[in-house]
């Protein structure tokens, strides 16, 4: 069995070498088809990163009662820091809150200075982890229950709208990715079918000398998978070159303007997905073509 499998691999490699020109054209066609998918996955990867970056800016503000002393304030902040998904909890006392307000609204300086008491509340600024967007509500609810905490503000309405938007974008992008993958599989399959069609005489002869369906099909399936894999690898390589050239080509000024955005190449999942789509398409294309020719 193993010997036969090895023989099929040898036959597949020999066939690939013999029809080099046609196979190169096949690989080129597959590469173009998969570049479309690769480009989309690159966009999706960066979109996910940017969404995660924006999630890092989630800040919960916990306002404490006026009678909470400084030591107690520190204890509350420490307790919040111990919660999972909390990156940091920074104390903002009444004076710091007043200074921040005056910084942002200098016109109100005279009014604030004229007051007998500091009207601002001490608060704790809570930063959540990257993947904690959905747990912001949970953390806010927990913090609200801490003794000494008067109220919690986390931009509830904005958060709900953001989560809904993010969910829609993610679902839409995955749906589009699925459609592009299906389209790529069809495109690559048809390219492989054309390749096999040019070798129908060979298939007929193998049938005539007593080749079983599996015997005839195996090397062709191996070839199809190999061509699909090569096309996918080439698509990834070409995208990488294009990606690097694009980054290099951005001038200094535009990089400064976009300094808050980092561009990422495909992650491991994206690369593996592309290679898998290439292999699957090539295999499916081979099987579909052979089905027509192998009706004994």
């Amino acid at each position: 069995m193993l010997r036969r499998l090895v023989h099929h691999f040898i036959r597949a490699v020999a066939s690939l070498k013999k029809a080099m020109f046609i196979n190169l054209i096949t690989v080129a066609t597959i590469t173009i088809a998969l570049l479309l998918l690769a480009g989309y996955l690159l966009l999706l990867n960066n979109l996910n990163h940017w969404i995660n970056v924006s999630q890092q800016r989630f800040t919960i503000k916990a306002f404490v009662h006026d009678d909470v002393v400084e030591k107690k304030l520190g204890e509350i902040a420490g307790k919040i820091r111990s919660y999972s998904n909390v990156r940091d909890a920074k104390v903002l006392d009444k004076n710091q809150a007043k200074d921040i307000f005056i910084d942002r609204h200098p016109d109100f300086l005279d009014i604030i200075e004229g007051l007998n008491e500091n009207p601002f509340q001490a608060s704790i600024l809570i930063r959540v982890e990257n993947d904690s967007a959905d747990s912001v509500k949970q953390i806010a609810t927990k913090v609200e229950k801490i003794a000494g905490v008067e109220s919690v503000d986390y931009g509830e309405r904005w958060l709900e709208r953001y989560l809904a938007f993010r969910g829609t974008v993610k679902m839409g992008s995955y749906l589009l990715a699925s459609l592009i993958i299906i389209a790529c599989i069809f495109l690559v399959s048809n390219t492989i079918r054309l390749n096999i069609f040019t070798r129908r005489a060979e298939i007929e002869i193998y049938k005539l000398v007593g080749g079983t369906k599996i015997f005839i099909a195996t090397p062709f399936v191996i070839e199809g998978a190999a061509l699909g894999l090569c096309g996918a690898a080439l698509a990834i390589a070409m995208l990488f070159v294009f990606f690097k050239l694009t980054l290099l080509g951005m001038n200094r000024e535009s990089i400064h303007m976009m300094s808050s955005l980092t561009f990422y190449f495909l992650n491991n999942t994206g690369i593996l997905l592309l290679l898998a789509v290439g292999v699957v398409s090539g295999t499916v294309g081979s099987i579909l073509s052979l089905h027509r020719f192998l009706r004994i």
Binding site: R3, K18, A201, G210, F215, I296
Partner: protein, 217 residues
């Protein structure tokens, strides 16, 4: 070796390629199947190696009723039947030895054992010096000899030849016939479809005559 009992082959209700064929071909026979174009010669051969299926009747090959054979068993039947065609059916990108090796690969024979056998058979058909030539580098007669070598490499019990000399001149025709006689002398049953009247009449072999899908004799 080959027995047909009331065998018919129809492509549609009105289009019968063969009708009510009854014949018996013994082991070691050399038989010509002759008749005008459209008589059913090629269809008869196709039924024997299961490229076409029998519409009605019984067809026994080496004792097995192949009228009822399952599709999955057909490749195993074909390994016992060598077939030669008018258009040779060689793979143009494969050398002589690679074309012959095809038939050995399907039965799982590779490596040195296969090489020895291929060398022996290619030498037997007189092409030992052209083992690594491509079909396009061979004459028509040489290409037909390669096809015969491929058909014989697994020692088949039966050799079917459909117009094997159809594309050849008279000299090459004699060459091929000599080769077939040599093979038959070793015990292989041979069935040759041919519309070459002169070849059939001067051969001294058994003849099956077909006309419009019926046996004439």
């Amino acid at each position: 070796m080959i027995q047909m009992f009331h065998v018919s082959k129809a492509y549609s209700r009105e289009a019968y390629a063969l009708q009510d064929i009854n014949l018996k071909i013994a082991k070691g026979d050399f038989v010509f199947v002759t008749g005008p174009s459209g008589a059913g010669k090629t269809t008869l051969l196709k039924l024997i190696f299961c490229e076409e299926s029998v519409t009605s009747g019984q067809l026994l090959v080496d004792g097995r009723n192949i009228a009822r054979i399952r599709a999955s068993r057909i490749p195993y039947l074909r390994r016992q039947i060598g077939v030669v065609f008018q258009d040779f059916k060689l793979i143009p990108t494969m050398t002589v030895s690679e074309n012959v090796a095809l038939a050995m690969e399907v039965v799982g024979v590779y490596g040195r054992k296969a090489k020895r056998r291929i060398a022996a058979i290619v030498n037997a058909v007189g092409l030992g010096h052209k083992m690594h030539a491509l079909p396009l580098q061979l004459s028509a007669g040489e290409q037909q000899r390669v096809a015969i070598a491929r058909a014989l490499v697994n020692d088949p019990k039966i050799l079917l030849a459909d117009e094997p000399t159809g594309n050849l001149d008279p000299e090459l025709t004699i060459e091929i016939m000599d080769l077939l006689n040599f093979i038959n002398a070793k015990g292989t049953t041979i069935l040759v479809a041919s519309h070459n009247k002169k070849l059939v009449e001067t051969s001294g072999k058994l003849v099956i005559r077909l006309k419009n899908g019926h046996l004439e004799n």
